[in-house]
Symmetry: none
Subunit: 206 residues, 4 copies
Amino acid sequence: MANPRNQRRKEDRPAEITAAAMHTFAEKGFAATKVADVAKRAGVSKGLLYLYFKTKEDLFKAVVRSFIFPMIENLTDTVENTDLGAEEFIRGPLLKFAKSVPNSPARFLVRLLVAEGPKHPDLVTWYWENVASKGIGAIRTVVKKGVESGEFRSNAFTELPHIFATPVIFSILWKILFEEHDSLDTDKLIEEHFELILSSIRKNAS
Amino acid sequence: MANPRNQRRKEDRPAEITAAAMHTFAEKGFAATKVADVAKRAGVSKGLLYLYFKTKEDLFKAVVRSFIFPMIENLTDTVENTDLGAEEFIRGPLLKFAKSVPNSPARFLVRLLVAEGPKHPDLVTWYWENVASKGIGAIRTVVKKGVESGEFRSNAFTELPHIFATPVIFSILWKILFEEHDSLDTDKLIEEHFELILSSIRKNAS
Amino acid sequence: MANPRNQRRKEDRPAEITAAAMHTFAEKGFAATKVADVAKRAGVSKGLLYLYFKTKEDLFKAVVRSFIFPMIENLTDTVENTDLGAEEFIRGPLLKFAKSVPNSPARFLVRLLVAEGPKHPDLVTWYWENVASKGIGAIRTVVKKGVESGEFRSNAFTELPHIFATPVIFSILWKILFEEHDSLDTDKLIEEHFELILSSIRKNAS
Amino acid sequence: MANPRNQRRKEDRPAEITAAAMHTFAEKGFAATKVADVAKRAGVSKGLLYLYFKTKEDLFKAVVRSFIFPMIENLTDTVENTDLGAEEFIRGPLLKFAKSVPNSPARFLVRLLVAEGPKHPDLVTWYWENVASKGIGAIRTVVKKGVESGEFRSNAFTELPHIFATPVIFSILWKILFEEHDSLDTDKLIEEHFELILSSIRKNAS
DNA sequence: TATGAATGAGATTTCATTCAT
DNA sequence: TATGAATGAAATCTCATTCAT
């Protein structure tokens, strides 16, 4: 009589629901997303959804957290455990990460965050503390290591690690908004951008 | 009986309403903005607002158009009528323009566009055709002029004028989201970024 | 074109709605009353009802206040302005008032108050301050006047004016609950009860 | 495998559930009481509760019956089996009973009955047949015995045994509603009231 | 033009009840 | 017996839009 499918699904419910919610929020935004649609997409009743998430807002926050967290954790782990030199790291894992973001589901989360920021300031705070500041911090660590090891010279950009993020953010927005109107090779944009920065801070470059 | 103040206001009504709408949309986003609030802020009745704008969406589009249009028109005009050399133009009027955007009301329109894009694809199309492509086109024109005049060498960035926009877009989002958590000198970021690009395409730079 | 009926009704809307709500709440209680039913009974849309009363609870409180207030105000006014002696007052206006309560719409408000007390403690406080304590106070004033003028002797009941209220409250509950099962002559119960009390405190009675 | 504690509890389940329900209904009223809360308070699952009580209404009726029945049965038994004279009985067991009611859990049942009467007319009928009419009947029996034995004269109150109940009902409502706002010595009110009635019907009183 | 009372469709949320295990 | 995940009907409340004046 045991129904292994039901058994297995019971434990996955929250994840199934956040996955469905992720897609719906990404497509329509917070306000235009109907809880009923999320439930239908997840294949559950509205009532069950409310068993796991107390309000629509709760669900929204769970979505943002559960999808962004793994990404940024992955980045900081990589920075901490790498044996690579600073330039090698930037041209390797960091570039790969930067290129992947505009094509990952995370690009929708950027939209959600931008769109819903004013209505959900605590979410922005969470994002700042757990994602943005950590991401910038990770890049800063890498650059500092390069300066200390003598690979990099110290200049304006070693103090502005944000410069590594500008092509990524730009690419995300471009893809979200204009992908259908104009195709932009975001991989190339990011790669060239990284090379440009490296050429400026690389010591043996001058 | 004619009241000159009323008389004068009568002609400004649509502008007063879009101004009120601009602020409310910027603060709350499209869905969370109540038409009644806009009307109250503009000092008119709901009924009158509906006399000028057929629907809430109409009002939204009017807001986006009326505020963005002057900005981009100003940029393209400047490009067409300038006597400056390419580098002079970039370091002068273009840099000034780029620095001004993240501090202008336009930054809220970026948020609105990002947030409401999926619900208003025709607005995105309009924005693409009248703003984004023209802006990128203007930069492309300037860069091409520099290449043709021998000021600039031809490299990856002369084909990717988007690179000039990345720090601007990044600065806008940073200000919108994290201004309260972390202050970033966006002027400096944009200025250094422009210098970085110039150092790469300037012919006598190597 | 002027429609006098609409004109007149506009001003009466809140009163029309509270009247409809009064009947529905009395019939069904707070929780079982549907706002939609009240609106239908009042001949307006749900939306309009919410224009005048922010929540269902607001409406409930407005009902209690608007129906009880006139009654108790009437009693205290009569006490203050009477020329009658204490016994005359009790056998006249007070008895008349006491008899009228179990037959007035107020009897439903007692039910509402008893039923909803735990969910609406502020309403109970309001009722205590504005109705119950004033009602008891009014009786106390009358009795004290009788004692001071020498009409009444001072005994346990001159310190317990509540005794005048017991047959009224009992009659209300009996009517609410058992009217269909057993007819009780509440007028007679109240009248005999008053006479009983008077015979005990009247000075020339012993 | 048999666990004696479980074994014992198994038989008490219904009583444990009605006890938990009694408290929750008394605190919140019928509509605001959640079956889930009752189950948790009783320490059982919702499913098990539904095994014993087919619906929430069933549970409600069981509560009213199981708590009121013993009280009224106790009263009628005492009346039937007493050796006391009428006045002795009234000043003894009846007064004791009357004083106890406003302090017993039964006072909450009065609230429930008043509150839910309109929604549960069969419960009111049951209450009338099994409680109210029997209670009034018991008092009538006592008074009649007094008249027949020559202890009491026959007057309005020997025809209106309800008069003995008025201070009890009043005390219950006062305690339920205003206990926190104003303390009333309900014992004294009831006692003085009984004395008042007795002084009126006692034959050797005039 | 100008008002704002009035509408009604639609969204979120709750909870009694069921049922697979 | 016993559980509690799951359902879905129903209720409150919101707000864009209309329209009589």
